[in-house]
């Protein structure tokens, strides 16, 4: 497989990738660093347990409010929202700019006058997105593990990997959605808007579904439920949920290739 476009994309984004890696790792480090003081504060745990249900759902449900364990704490502070949100933020910006952004700037006119199949261009750009995400996840996970040893975090490694993977998958899916809308419409703004709406809408849907039993089956429409609804940082790998995220991302990739092969470049 040829990888010139993949390499170009990662090089073009190297500064932004580095900034995101540092930013996310710092945030993660901060959270892990405050764990010992939370763990030792029974009062705080009790205070959280008295929160109204609706507020608890916003931060990942009951599971999050077991501050007696590292898993509950990490779920509330990282995996129920902030960690996947940061990764998705990066992924949506990357997915929208890498194809639609370059098209709007006119630079794809140059690249596609070269012997490059359009489907190959789309695939390499999607791979660049995935590689970038995995890079960010690796940097922040290594930070968590190292600092976790220092503060005696007591978090199971397999469950931690499961939760990080869920966040990477939901970010990859929303980033791929941004790339798809860009491939379809050629507009960076449309790509960012659609992907952000799905991420936020899905999050709110998950929260509502946690409060209203009738909405429970609709959870499967929420990317955030698929990523973290089973609290993987405590309960480990959920194959069905992650399988759906992987499948949707793959479908979006092939749909992107298909629509981009079949339309005029925006001038």
């Amino acid at each position: 497989m040829r990888t010139e476009i993949l390499a170009r994309d990662l090089r073009d984004h190297r500064r932004s990738l580095l900034a995101w890696a540092v930013g996310i790792s710092l945030y993660v480090a901060l959270i892990v660093a405050v764990w010992p003081s939370i763990r030792d504060s029974a009062q705080l745990t009790k205070a959280f347990q008295d929160y109204p249900d609706s507020l608890k759902e916003l931060f990942g449900g009951d599971a999050s409010f077991d501050f007696g364990t590292a898993a509950g704490f990490l779920n509330a502070e990282l995996f129920s929202l902030m960690y996947p949100l940061m990764l998705a933020f990066f992924a949506i910006a990357f997915g929208a700019s890498t194809l639609a952004g370059e098209e709007e700037r006119g630079v794809l006119d140059l690249v596609l006058a070269y012997p490059v199949r359009r489907s190959r261009l789309v695939t390499e750009k999607a791979l660049a997105l995935f590689v970038g995400l995995v890079g960010l996840a690796l940097a922040s996970t290594v930070t968590m593990l190292l600092l976790g040893v220092v503060v005696s975090l007591g978090q199971g490694t397999s469950e931690l990997f499961a939760a990080v993977t869920g966040s990477v998958l939901v970010a990859a899916g929303t980033g791929m959605l941004a790339l798809f809308v860009g491939a379809w419409r050629g507009s960076r703004a449309a790509a960012i808007g659609a992907a952000a709406a799905v991420f936020v809408g899905g999050y709110l849907l998950q929260v509502l579904a946690g409060l209203v039993d009738a909405l429970d089956p609709l959870r499967w429409l929420s990317p955030m439920y698929l990523a973290n609804g089973t609290t993987p940082v405590r309960s480990g790998w959920p194959p069905a949920q992650y399988g759906v995220l992987v499948a949707v991302t793959a479908v979006l990739l092939f749909a992107s290739r298909w629509v981009f092969e079949r339309r005029d470049l925006v001038h």
Binding site: V107, D109, L110, L112, A113, R263, H267
Partner: protein, 303 residues
């Protein structure tokens, strides 16, 4: 021999009126073909369809004997393209861009890139974002020429180039065709087309109005000729000459429209004392009018 470009009934419609309509065109290998028309006439649309950046609504386009759409990748292996006001990866230097594009083509030729940059006088070691419009144009020319394409598409190539570089550009274009390769360039400037092209297609409102040799182009266009004499002369004698029209006498100055060569006019004028003679080169619009007049008179085409 296979035509460099061959289109039959090529049409690209947008929702709005812009586009190209029913273009039948054959460009032979080894010629410089100029696509002349005002801005918005469809020149860029034509090139973008031939490069498969946009898809024709109807009709067919073959480039170097291959289908412009179905065989796009094979076509692109053998063509070079400079867009009008080209967008490049601004953060790269010219050299980084050319190296990367060479790799994309699977044909890196650093020596050719350096030689072209030297001829066109452009610094490939500066980031593209700090370059002037003219220098960006040169970088775009370098990337398009480095792999010695069989067919070169140039969209308004010399806009932004200073006159000295334009000479070099013309020299390079002549070398390309001397090697049997083909150049297809679009322009809205008649002088540019006249200097480098062998044949010219005239496009207006998306329609190919005429295809002519450059030498014939001049002859078909009305020019405004002004002759200033020492003493007043009889305008009627000039109006009676073939190819002379709209004669206006203002004192001792005679103004007229002329088509074809000026031999008869000059010989008649020479019988008097001529103070000054100005033949204004035709504006593009006048050439269009000339062709439109002609098209109105011509019988419908047999094919």
């Amino acid at each position: 021999m296979t035509a460099a470009i061959e289109t039959v009934g090529l049409t690209k419609s947008y929702g709005r009126s812009r586009g190209i309509v029913d273009v039948d065109l054959v460009v032979e290998p080894g010629e410089v073909f100029g696509f002349l028309g005002p801005n918005g006439a469809g020149k860029t649309t034509m090139i973008r369809v031939l490069l498969d950046l946009i898809r024709a609504t109807s009709g067919s386009a073959r480039v170097l004997g291959l289908d412009a759409h179905a065989d796009a990748v094979a076509v692109h292996r053998r063509v070079g393209y400079v867009a009008g006001n080209p967008a490049l990866y601004d953060r790269l230097t010219g050299r980084e861009l050319c190296t990367w594009l060479g790799r994309l083509r699977g044909m890196e030729d650093a020596a050719a890139v350096d030689a072209l940059a030297e001829r066109l006088v452009v610094d490939l070691d500066r980031p593209i974002r700090v370059l002037s419009t003219g220098n960006r144009q040169k970088v775009a020319l370098v990337q398009a020429l480095a792999h010695r394409p069989d067919l070169l598409f140039l969209d308004e190539p010399t806009s932004g180039l200073d006159p000295l570089v334009q000479d070099t550009f013309e020299e390079i274009v002549r070398e390309v065709v001397a090697e049997g390769r083909t150049v297809f360039l679009s322009s809205h400037r008649l002088d540019e087309v006249q200097q480098v092209c062998d044949r010219v297609g005239i496009i207006g409102d998306g329609r190919l109005i005429a295809v002519d040799r450059v030498d014939d182009l001049r002859n078909r266009a009305w020019r405004t000729v002004t002759v200033e004499f020492a003493t007043p002369v009889d305008g009627a004698a000039f109006a009676a000459l073939p190819g002379i029209d709209d004669v206006v006498v203002e004192g001792s100055t005679l103004r007229m429209r002329a088509v074809g060569d000026l031999d008869a006019l000059v010989k008649l004028a020479a019988a008097h004392h001529v103070v000054d003679l100005v033949s204004e080169p035709p504006e593009l619009e006048e050439i269009f009018l000339g062709y439109f007049d002609h098209a109105a008179e011509a019988p419908p085409r047999a094919d």
